[in-house]
C-alpha cells in the first residue's frame, strides 16, 4: 500500500499487485480546502448576461438528467416526466433534456415514452442509494437495468470501503460494474457528502476514472450536502489531469441541490474555465436535477419577454 502514502501524486504507470490483478496507482494530489472553496466561489462571480445567459441556459437544459427517484414513483409519474424531458416548453427553440433518470423497474416505461427521441434513459443501480448489498446483487441489478433498456447506469461506490481505505475493493466493484454495463454508459456516484474531505473526493474520482467510469457524479440526491461548487471543481480537476495524461475525456455530473438557473450557470462557468470547450456538451457534462428545469425555463422566458411569469405558467411534472 506504499503508493497510497504520499498525497502529492503518483509515478505514472506505477502499479500495485494484489489478488493476482495488476492495479494502477491510486495516489492523487492533496486538495487545500480554503483555496479550492475560494476558487469555486470566485467562478461564481462571473456575470452571465444577455446572449451568453440564453445560450448557457439552453445548454443547461440539453444537459439535464431529469430525475425522479422516489419510493412512490409510478408508471404514470415516469411517463409525465418523460414528456417534460422530450418537450420542456412549447417554445421550439428550447431543446429536449439529455436523459431521464429512474429506478430500474421503471426503465421500460421510460424507454417506451422516449422512443425515437434523443432523450436517453438512465437507471440507478447497484443497490442505490447506499450500495450496501453484495456484489452479486449489485451486478445483477445493473445487468437487469441494461436488459430492460437503460442507456446509462448510475452506480454508487461503496463509501464504507472508500472510508476504510480499501481502495482496491472500490476499484474492483467499479470495474466489475463497468463490465456488467456492456454497451451502456457508466456514471459513478461518489456520494461526496459522505466522503468527508476534498482529498478523498479527489482520490475517489481518480479510482473511478481508472476503473472505467464514463462519467463521475457527485451525489445520489439522498444525502446532504449533495453537489457543491467546490466538490465539483475538485472532480473537474481530476478529469482535467486525466485528460492531460491520457487524452481521454471523462464526463462530469453534479447532482442534487442544483435548483436555480443561476446555480446552473455557475457550474457551466466552472466547466468552461476548468475543462474548456470540449466538455460543454451533454456527452461530457450533465446536471442531475428534479426541480432545476422550471427555474431555467422561467429565466429563459424572462429573457424573451422581459417579465417573470408565475410558477403556474410552467408545467410541473
Amino acid at each position: 500500500m506504499a503508493t497510497f502514502g504520499n498525497g502529492s501524486g503518483a509515478t505514472p504507470g506505477a502499479v500495485g499487485q494484489g489478488r493476482g490483478i495488476t492495479y494502477p496507482d491510486f495516489s492523487s494530489p492533496t486538495v487545500d480546502k480554503v483555496m479550492v472553496e475560494e476558487r469555486a466561489a470566485g467562478l461564481g462571480k462571473r456575470s452571465i448576461k444577455g446572449p451568453a445567459k440564453i445560450a448557457g441556459l439552453k445548454l443547461a437544459i440539453s444537459m439535464m438528467d431529469l430525475t425522479t427517484l422516489e419510493g412512490k414513483d409510478s408508471p404514470g409519474k415516469v411517463q409525465q416526466l418523460c414528456q417534460k424531458a422530450l418537450r420542456p416548453h412549447e417554445r421550439a427553440d428550447i431543446p429536449p433534456c439529455a436523459a431521464v433518470c429512474v429506478y430500474p423497474k421503471l426503465v421500460p416505461v421510460a424507454k417506451r415514452a422516449v422512443e425515437g427521441s434523443t432523450v436517453k434513459v438512465a437507471s440507478v443501480a447497484t443497490a442505490f442509494p447506499s450500495g450496501l448489498s453484495t456484489l452479486e446483487v449489485k451486478l445483477a441489478d445493473v445487468r437487469q437495468a441494461v436488459e430492460l433498456g437503460a442507456d446509462e447506469i448510475d452506480m454508487v461506490i461503496d463509501r464504507g470501503a472508500m472510508l476504510a481505505g480499501e481502495y482496491r475493493a472500490v476499484y474492483d466493484e467499479i470495474a466489475a460494474t463497468k463490465e456488467a454495463c456492456g454497451h451502456a454508459h457508466l456514471k459513478v456516484i461518489l456520494e461526496t457528502g459522505e466522503l468527508g474531505s476534498y482529498d478523498r473526493v479527489r482520490k475517489a474520482s481518480r479510482i473511478a476514472i481508472l476503473a472505467g467510469a464514463d462519467f463521475i457524479k457527485t451525489s445520489t440526491g439522498k444525502v446532504t450536502p449533495a453537489a457543491t461548487p467546490p466538490v465539483t471543481l475538485v472532480m473537474l480537476e481530476a478529469i482535467r489531469d486525466h485528460a492531460h495524461a491520457t487524452g481521454r475525456r471523462i464526463g462530469m455530473k453534479p447532482a442534487g441541490g442544483i435548483r436555480t438557473a443561476k446555480q446552473a450557470l455557475h457550474y457551466l462557468v466552472m466547466v468552461k474555465e476548468t475543462l474548456g470547450d470540449a466538455w460543454l456538451t451533454s456527452d461530457l457534462f450533465r446536471f442531475g436535477a428534479s426541480t432545476l428545469l422550471n427555474d431555467v425555463l422561467m429565466q429563459l422566458e424572462k429573457e424573451r419577454t422581459g417579465a417573470y411569469q408565475g410558477g403556474d405558467y410552467f408545467s410541473k411534472d
Binding site: G9, I48, A243
Partner: protein, 512 residues
C-alpha cells in the same frame, strides 16, 4: 518524497489494463479554452457616477482653488479618456493645509472626547459602504483595476479599516496599558496609486483614531477617490481641517513631507522615494513610517496542493495587474514539480480575461500609467536579454490605453534583474530550488522583505519555513490576504513601521 513523476499531479497510469502506455500526443489538445460559450459584455453601469469637471483642494473644510491656478488632468488608463482636472497644490497651498490641520488639532480634535472621535470615524465607514458602488466605479475608471476587485476588495477593506480603528478611538489606554498614549499632532500622509482609496483608509483611520489631524496627498494618477472621500468627510461633518486633501505630483508630496509643521510622516510608495524622504527627515525629529517595495517569494514545495497553489500564484502576481507591493513576484518552485506546475500555470493563464476594467468579468485590467507601462516593458526586455524564457498570454489587448499581457519567465536566476528588481506589473519570475534550506536562502536573498508565501501540505513545514523567512507577512497555502486587525509592513528596504492592528496605532501615538 516522490520522484519527478509526481509532477503529473494526478499523474496518470492510463487505463488500468495498459498501465503506462496510453499517453498519446492528443493529450495536450484535450483541454482547449475557446469560444464555444462566449461571455457577453457585462459592463458595470457608470450612469450613477458623477465626476465633476474640476476638483479643487480640500483645506480647512472648504474647497479652495490652488494658489497657482494650475490644474492637472486625470486620465483613465484603460481608454486615455480625460476624466477631469484636479488642482496642483504648491508649497503655499500645502502650508495652508498644514496650518488648517494644526488649528483643527488644537481647537477641536485633541479636545474632543475619544468616544466622539470614534463616532465620526464610524460615520465615515458607513458612508463608504453606502457609496461603495460609486466609489468602486471611480476607482476602476481612474486607476484601471477590474471592477471585480475594486468592488470586492478595495471598497470593503477600506470601510473595514475605518470600522476597525473607530473602535480603538476610546480604547487607546487599553491598547497600551500604563503607557499614557498621546497623539502626535499633524500627520502628513503620501499614498500610492495602486490602491488609492484603500491606502487613504490605511493612513487616515488609525491617525484619526489616535487623535491626530491629517494632510493627505494622493498620487497624481489616481486622485479621484481621495477627493470623493474628502466629500464624504465633509458630509460627515468632521470639524474643518481635521482631514485635508492636497493633490498634485511629486513636488506637492515633497512639500507635505518637508513642511516643518508636520509631526509625523507616513509614506507608501517606491523604495527610491522612501529613501529620499528618510534622508530629508533625518534630524528633524519628525516621526516616520515607510511602506515601500517588495519582491516576495512564493515558495511551492512538491507536497503542495498544486491546483490551489496555482490559484495563489495567479492571484499573487496578477491581482491588480501586479501593482501590489506584496505581490508574489518570485515563484520559487521545488525542481521536482516545476514542469507540472508550469503546465498548470500556463493553462490557468489562458483563462484570464484581460480588458475593460468596468466589465464585471475582467480579471486583469489596465496598467496604471504610461510611465509604469514603460517601466514594465523595460524590465521585461531586460529579462529576455539576460536569457530567461518569456511566456505571455496571447490575448487581444485594447487599442487605446495602457496594457500588458500577463507574462511569466522561466529559467530565471537570482542574478537576473527580473528576480531582483520590483517590476510592479503582471510579470512572474520563476526560479527553482532543491531543498527547503535553499528555498529559504533564495527567498531571503533580496533587498526587500515585505511578504512571502509558502505552499505545502505539511503543517510543520509551513511553520518551519515561516520562522526563517525575513518578511513582514508570510501566507501559508494562501496569498494576498489582508485584514484591518492584522499588522502589515516590511523588513529591510520594504520599509519600517506597521499598519493595521493594534500595532498600526503605535505609528500615530507617543507612548511612555
Amino acid at each position: 518524497m516522490s520522484d519527478k513523476g509526481t509532477a503529473a499531479a494526478g499523474g496518470d497510469g492510463g487505463s488500468p489494463r495498459q498501465p503506462s502506455a496510453a499517453r498519446d500526443t492528443a493529450a495536450d489538445a484535450a483541454v482547449v479554452f475557446g469560444d464555444a460559450w462566449r461571455y457577453a459584455p457585462a459592463p458595470e453601469g457608470r450612469d450613477h457616477v458623477k465626476i465633476a469637471p474640476r476638483y479643487d483642494l480640500f483645506i480647512g473644510g472648504a474647497w479652495r482653488a490652488p494658489e497657482s491656478g494650475r490644474y492637472l488632468d486625470s486620465i483613465s488608463p484603460s481608454t486615455e479618456e480625460k476624466l477631469c482636472e484636479f488642482a496642483e497644490a504648491s508649497e503655499r497651498d500645502v502650508d495652508l493645509a498644514v496650518q488648517a490641520a494644526r488649528a483643527a488639532y488644537e481647537k477641536h480634535w485633541s479636545r474632543l472626547r475619544p468616544l466622539e472621535r470614534g463616532k465620526y470615524i464610524y460615520r465615515i465607514a458607513r458612508a463608504l459602504q453606502e457609496k461603495s458602488r460609486e466609489l468602486a466605479v471611480v476607482e476602476s475608471l481612474d486607476g484601471g483595476k477590474p471592477i471585480k476587485e475594486s468592488r470586492d476588495v478595495d471598497l470593503p477593506l477600506a470601510a473595514a479599516h475605518f470600522f476597525y480603528y473607530a473602535g480603538w478611538a476610546d480604547k487607546l489606554e487599553h491598547a497600551f496599558p500604563g503607557r499614557d498614549p498621546r497623539p502626535l499632532g499633524v500627520a502628513g500622509q503620501v499614498i500610492p496609486w495602486n490602491f488609492p482609496l484603500l491606502m487613504a483608509a490605511w493612513k487616515l483611520a488609525p491617525a484619526l483614531a489616535a487623535g491626530n489631524t491629517c494632510v493627505l496627498k494622493p498620487a497624481e494618477t489616481t486622485p479621484l477617490t481621495s477627493l470623493l472621500l474628502a466629500k464624504i468627510i465633509e458630509e460627515a461633518d468632521l470639524p474643518p481641517g481635521v482631514v485635508n486633501v492636497v493633490t498634485g505630483a511629486g513636488a506637492t508630496g515633497a512639500a507635505v513631507v518637508g513642511h516643518p509643521g508636520v509631526d509625523k510622516v507616513a509614506f507608501t510608495g517606491s523604495t527610491e522615494v522612501g529613501k529620499r524622504i528618510q534622508r530629508a527627515l533625518a534630524g528633524t525629529g519628525k516621526r516616520l513610517t515607510l511602506e515601500l517595495g517588495g519582491k516576495a517569494a512564493n515558495i511551492v514545495f512538491e507536497d503542495a496542493p498544486l491546483d490551489q497553489a496555482v490559484e495563489g500564484i495567479i492571484g499573487g502576481i496578477f491581482f491588480n495587474q501586479g501593482h501590489v507591493c506584496c505581490a508574489g513576484s518570485r515563484l520559487l518552485v521545488e525542481e521536482s514539480v516545476h514542469d507540472a506546475l508550469l503546465l498548470k500555470l500556463r493553462e490557468r493563464m489562458a483563462t484570464l480575461r484581460v480588458g475593460d476594467p468596468l466589465d464585471k468579468n475582467t480579471d486583469v485590467g489596465a496598467i496604471n500609467s504610461r510611465a509604469q507601462l514603460e517601466k514594465i516593458q523595460e524590465l521585461v526586455a531586460a529579462g529576455e536579454r539576460e536569457g530567461a524564457a518569456r511566456f505571455s498570454v496571447s490575448c487581444a489587448l485594447p487599442q487605446r490605453g495602457y496594457w500588458f499581457a500577463p507574462t511569466l519567465f522561466t529559467g530565471v536566476a537570482q542574478s537576473h534583474r527580473i528576480a531582483r528588481e520590483e517590476i510592479f506589473g503582471p510579470v512572474l519570475s520563476i526560479l527553482t530550488f532543491r531543498t527547503p534550506e535553499e528555498a529559504i536562502e533564495k527567498a531571503n536573498n533580496t533587498m526587500y522583505g515585505l511578504s512571502a508565501g509558502v505552499w505545502t501540505s505539511k503543517g510543520s513545514k509551513s511553520f518551519w519555513v515561516a520562522q526563517r523567512l525575513r518578511a513582514g507577512v508570510v501566507w501559508a497555502n494562501t496569498f494576498n490576504k489582508l485584514d484591518p486587525s492584522s499588522p502589515f509592513g516590511g523588513y529591510k528596504e520594504s520599509g519600517f513601521g506597521r499598519e493595521g492592528g493594534r500595532q498600526g496605532l503605535l505609528a500615530y501615538l507617543e507612548v511612555d
